[in-house]
C-alpha cells in the first residue's frame, strides 16, 4: 500500500477527449483499481485547465492532504506549466504533479472508443505509478547576461536590434554582407503603399549604425556558439575588408578609380556591375568599402593598387595586409534574422530564364526599377535601351509546385501587382499577369489589387506552361510567347510579349541547416527555422535563449518581419529585465558512494558537464552545464547517476503502469512478480 495520497484528474476537454474516451469510466476505474497505488480521489471534469478545474485540484490538495497529482488531459507541452502552477498555489511542490496525454495520443488518434478508453486507463496507471517516485525539486535560476546577439541585418534584425538597444541594453549585430539592409535595400517600392524602400529603410539603418548600444559587425559571420541561455559565448569572424575603418571617411574615390568591373551577383542580382573595391550601394551602413579579393587585380596578379594610390586620407585607408579578426563575445540571448534566398529560376527550364534574354527574375526587376539601379529606374529590355510594349508577369515560379516547393511564398502576388503598376506607370505597356489565385489578404492589399485592375492590367488565371521564342505565326516573330491555359475561358492562349518577369518564390537560405545546427535549433523539411509553436509562439525556438524573426522562419512580407523582429526583442527584453531565468531542474547527478570510477560516462556529454576527479577517482556532474538529456544516466553500469524527473524508478514504474492492462482491457498475465 503506497504511503502517498494521489489525486487523479481526468479532463473531458469539452468533447475532444470525452467524445472518444469514456472519461467517467476511466476516472471511476482509477479511483477503484489504483487505490493500492495511493489514489485517494479521482475526478473527471469538462475543462481541467480552466480556473474552476484548477481550483478542484487546489481544493483537494488542501482538504485531502494530497501529496501527488496526476492530470490526464492534453499534451504536457501545452499545460504542464498550468497545472504545476496550480499545484504550487496549493503549497505543493510543482514537480509532484505529473501530466499524461490522453488527447493528442489517444482520443485524437484512435477511433475504437472501447480500446481508447482502456488505453487511457493504462496511461493513467503509468502516470500514477510514476508520480509516486517524483521528488520535490526547485527550478534552477540562471543569470541572464544583458547583451543580445542579433544575427542578420535585414529589416527584421534591424527592428529587433533597435528595440533592444533603445531600452538601454547592448546589442551585437552580425551581418554577412558588407552593409546591413538585407533584401529590402534592393527594392524600389514597397507594397501596398508604394513607399520607396530605401527611404523608409535607410533612417533605420543609420540609427543602427549610430546607436551607442549597438555593436555592428558587418562583413562578419558567426563561427561558433558555446554555452546556454543567459550565458552564450559566441565566436565571430570579422572578415578582412582591407580597409582601415578607423581612418576611412567613406569618400568613395577608391571605388571610382578602381579599373576592375565585376558583375554584382548579390546586390544588383546579377543585373549590374560593381568594382572590385566597392560598397554594395551608396547608402551602405557602414559606409566603408570592401575589397573583393577574388576579382581584385592586386590580389590576383600583384598589380594596380589604384585604390591605395588615390586614397586621400592620411594615413592611407587601404590596408592590403589586413587579416580576418576573431572576436569572442558573451551574450544572454540570440535572435536569428537571417532572411531568405530567392528560388533559382534556372531550375524551371521551360521558362527560359538564362536562355532567353528578356526573361527576368523579380529581384532583377526590382533593381531595374530602382532609381539607383543599373538602368536608373527605366524599365527596358536586356539590351538596356528598348522600352517593352508588352510585359508578362508570371506568379508562383517555384512555389505551390510539387516539382520544386510546395508552399506559397506569400509575397509574390502583391509583388506582381506592384510590378504591374510600375510597368504601367513607367512605360504604358500592356501588362499580363498569369496567376493561380490572387493572394492579397492584409491591410490595403486587396484595394491595391483593385487599383491595378482599374489601371488596365490583364489578368489570366492559368499556370504558364512555356515561355518561348519559337514563333508560330507572323505576329509572334521576335517576341517572347507565353503559352498558358486561360482556365476561366477554358482555352489555350499564346500571348506575345517583349519582356517577362518571373515572380520567383522565396526559399530558405542555402546554409540554413548549418546555421541551425550551429545555434542548436532545428529546420523544417523546407529548411525554414522551426518555431516553438506555429500558432502561439512564432518567435521562440525549442532552444532556450535562441529566437527567430523574419523570413528565416517562413516567407513573409515586411510588416510581418518587422512585427516578428519586435516580438523577438520583447521576449528578450523580458528575459533581461527579470535578470534570471528559471530552468527546468531536469539534471543528472552522481551518487558518489556508488561511483566506481569506471569513467564510461565521461565521454558521453556534449556539454562538457562531466568532470572526473583524479584524486578521489569519482565522476561529478556540473549542474549548471548539464542539460538533462540523461545519456550518462543510461550509461552508468552501477546506476550511480540519477536523473531528476526521469529516474530509473520513475520510468520503470510508468512502464509497469502501461503494462497493467492489455489492449482490450484484460489484465496482462505476464507480469513478473518483482515488478508488481
Amino acid at each position: 500500500m503506497s504511503k502517498e495520497k494521489i489525486g487523479v484528474y481526468v479532463c473531458h476537454c469539452g468533447t475532444n477527449i470525452s467524445g472518444t474516451v469514456d472519461v467517467e469510466e476511466v476516472s471511476k476505474w482509477a479511483g477503484e483499481n489504483l487505490e493500492k497505488d495511493g489514489v485517494v480521489v479521482s475526478r473527471d471534469y469538462k475543462f481541467m485547465c480552466s480556473s474552476l478545474g484548477q481550483e478542484l485540484i487546489e481544493a483537494d490538495i488542501k482538504e485531502q492532504g494530497l501529496t501527488r497529482v496526476v492530470v490526464a488531459a492534453c499534451s504536457p507541452h501545452l499545460h504542464e506549466q498550468t497545472f504545476r502552477t496550480a499545484v504550487k498555489r496549493a503549497d505543493l511542490n510543482p514537480y509532484l504533479c505529473e501530466m499524461v496525454s490522453i488527447r493528442e495520443q489517444v482520443s485524437w488518434v484512435h477511433t475504437d472508443k472501447k480500446i481508447a478508453t482502456e488505453k487511457s486507463k493504462s496511461v493513467i496507471a503509468g502516470g500514477v505509478k510514476r508520480v509516486a517516485f517524483h521528488e520535490e525539486l526547485e527550478p534552477l535560476q540562471v543569470p541572464i547576461n544583458e547583451a543580445t546577439l542579433v544575427v542578420g541585418g535585414g529589416i527584421a534584425g534591424i527592428q529587433a536590434a533597435l528595440e533592444i538597444a533603445d531600452s538601454g541594453f547592448p546589442v551585437y549585430m552580425v551581418e554577412r554582407e558588407p552593409s546591413i539592409g538585407g533584401h529590402m535595400a534592393k527594392f524600389d517600392k514597397t507594397f501596398p503603399t508604394l513607399d520607396c524602400a530605401a527611404c523608409i529603410l535607410t533612417p533605420k539603418m543609420v540609427s543602427v549604425g549610430d546607436h551607442p548600444h549597438i555593436n555592428m559587425y558587418t562583413y562578419s559571420e558567426v563561427e561558433k556558439v558555446d554555452g546556454y541561455v543567459g550565458n552564450f559565448t559566441v565566436t565571430i569572424r570579422k572578415k578582412a575588408r582591407y580597409v582601415d575603418t578607423d581612418v576611412c571617411t567613406g569618400c568613395g574615390i577608391c571605388e571610382e578609380k578602381c579599373p576592375q568591373k565585376v558583375i554584382d551577383d548579390i546586390f544588383e542580382a546579377g543585373l549590374g556591375y560593381r568594382k572590385a573595391v566597392y560598397r554594395p550601394f551608396p547608402q551602405a551602413v557602414p559606409k566603408y568599402p570592401v575589397i573583393d579579393t577574388d576579382n581584385c587585380i592586386y590580389f590576383q596578379r600583384g598589380k594596380c593598387k589604384a585604390c591605395q594610390i588615390f586614397c586621400p586620407t592620411e594615413p592611407n585607408s587601404i590596408d592590403f595586409e589586413q587579416q580576418d579578426e576573431i572576436i569572442e563575445i558573451t551574450v544572454g540571448n540570440i535572435i536569428l534574422a537571417t532572411g531568405y534566398d530567392l528560388f533559382d529560376a534556372r531550375r524551371v527550364p521551360q521558362y527560359g530564364y538564362g536562355r532567353l534574354a528578356n526573361v527576368f527574375t523579380s529581384l532583377e526587376f526590382e533593381r531595374m526599377c530602382n532609381a539607383a539601379g543599373p538602368t536608373n529606374g527605366e524599365v527596358v529590355l536586356r539590351d538596356g535601351v528598348t522600352t517593352p510594349e508588352a510585359v508578362a508577369i508570371v506568379h508562383c515560379v517555384g512555389s505551390r509546385d510539387r516539382n520544386y516547393n510546395n508552399y506559397c511564398s506569400v509575397i509574390c502576388c502583391m509583388q506582381s501587382l506592384k510590378f504591374a503598376h510600375l510597368v504601367k506607370e513607367r512605360t504604358g505597356a500592356e501588362v499580363y499577369n498569369f496567376y493561380i489565385d490572387m493572394r492579397t489578404p492584409f491591410k490595403d492589399y486587396d484595394e491595391f489589387y483593385q487599383k491595378v485592375l482599374e489601371e488596365g492590367a490583364h489578368f489570366i488565371r492559368g499556370r504558364v506552361a512555356e515561355i518561348t521564342d519559337a514563333a508560330r505565326m507572323p505576329g509572334e516573330e521576335g517576341k517572347l510567347i507565353i503559352q498558358a491555359e486561360d482556365t476561366l475561358i477554358g482555352k489555350q492562349r499564346r500571348i506575345p510579349v517583349d519582356m517577362v518577369v518571373l515572380s520567383a518564390g522565396l526559399e530558405s537560405r542555402a546554409d540554413a541547416k548549418e546555421v541551425a545546427h550551429k545555434f542548436g535549433i532545428s529546420c523544417s523539411t523546407d529548411e525554414w527555422f522551426i518555431e516553438k509553436h506555429p500558432k502561439l509562439d512564432p518567435v521562440a525556438t525549442m532552444t532556450e535563449g535562441v529566437f527567430i524573426a523574419g523570413a528565416c522562419q517562413g516567407p513573409k512580407d515586411i510588416p510581418a518581419s518587422v512585427a516578428q523582429g519586435a516580438a523577438a526583442a520583447a521576449r528578450v527584453l523580458s528575459r533581461i529585465q527579470s535578470k534570471e531565468l528559471a530552468l527546468e531542474p531536469v539534471r543528472a547527478s552522481v551518487i558518489e558512494e556508488k561511483c566506481s570510477g569506471c569513467r564510461i560516462c565521461n565521454n558521453l556529454c556534449p556539454f562538457n558537464a562531466i568532470i572526473f576527479h583524479e584524486d578521489r577517482m569519482v565522476t561529478e556532474i556540473n549542474p549548471a552545464l548539464c542539460q538533462g538529456c540523461g545519456t550518462c544516466v543510461a550509461a552508468c553500469p552501477s546506476e550511480a547517476i540519477t536523473g531528476t524527473q526521469f529516474s530509473n524508478e520513475q520510468i520503470l514504474a510508468q512502464l509497469e503502469g502501461l503494462l497493467m492492462l492489455d489492449v482490450e482491457g484484460g489484465l496482462v498475465s505476464m507480469l513478473e512478480p518483482e515488478m508488481a
Partner: protein
C-alpha cells in the same frame, strides 16, 4: 476462439522530436492503431537498454524506440549514442530468440507526425503477424533453455 491478436507495444519517445511528432499526429487527427503506449524521455540517449528488456519481460509484444534524426538531436549528438546501444541490443535480442521485427528504431522529427503514425501502423501489423511474445512463458520455469510457448500459469507468490 478466433479473436484477433492485439499486440501491446511500448514506445519510447524523446521530448523534443518524436514526442512532439506524436502530438503532431494528434493535432493532424492522423489515426493509428491503439496498440502503442508511449513513454516520454527527455532524449533517446536516456534510453537504458534494460527498459526495453523490462518492457518485453513485462508483457509487451514489441518495443518502438524513437528519437530525433541523426544530426538534429536537441542535445546535439545523444541520439547517436542511442543508436549504438540499440544495435548492440538488437544482436543480444537475436541471440535470445526474439524476432528482430519486435524491436524497432524510428527517427522522427517534430514535423513528421503523419510519418510516425504510418510507422506505428506498419509496426503493429508486423508484430501482429509474429503473434504474442509471451516471454516468461517461453523460458522454462527453472530458467534453462528455450521451451516452446506455454500457456500462462498462475504463479503463487
Amino acid at each position: 476462439m478466433d479473436k484477433k491478436f492485439e499486440p501491446l507495444i511500448i514506445g519510447f519517445t524523446c521530448n523534443w522530436c518524436s514526442y512532439r511528432a506524436a502530438d503532431m499526429a494528434g493535432i493532424s487527427r492522423e489515426k493509428y492503431p491503439p496498440n502503442v503506449r508511449l513513454i516520454r524521455l527527455m532524449c533517446s540517449g536516456r534510453l537504458d537498454p534494460t527498459f526495453i528488456l523490462k518492457a518485453l519481460a513485462g508483457g509487451a509484444d514489441g518495443v518502438l524506440v524513437t528519437g530525433c534524426h541523426p544530426g538534429e538531436c536537441h542535445y546535439l549528438e545523444q541520439n547517436f549514442k542511442a543508436a549504438r546501444r540499440f544495435s548492440l541490443l538488437k544482436r543480444m535480442l537475436n541471440q535470445m530468440g526474439i524476432e528482430p521485427e519486435r524491436v524497432k528504431l524510428v527517427w522522427a522529427s517534430a514535423a513528421e507526425g503523419v510519418r510516425l503514425a504510418k510507422e506505428i501502423t506498419t509496426m503493429v501489423e508486423e508484430v501482429r503477424a509474429l503473434g504474442p511474445l509471451n516471454w516468461p512463458g517461453v523460458v522454462a520455469e527453472d530458467g534453462n533453455g528455450y521451451v516452446a510457448h506455454l500457456a500462462p500459469e498462475e504463479v503463487s507468490a
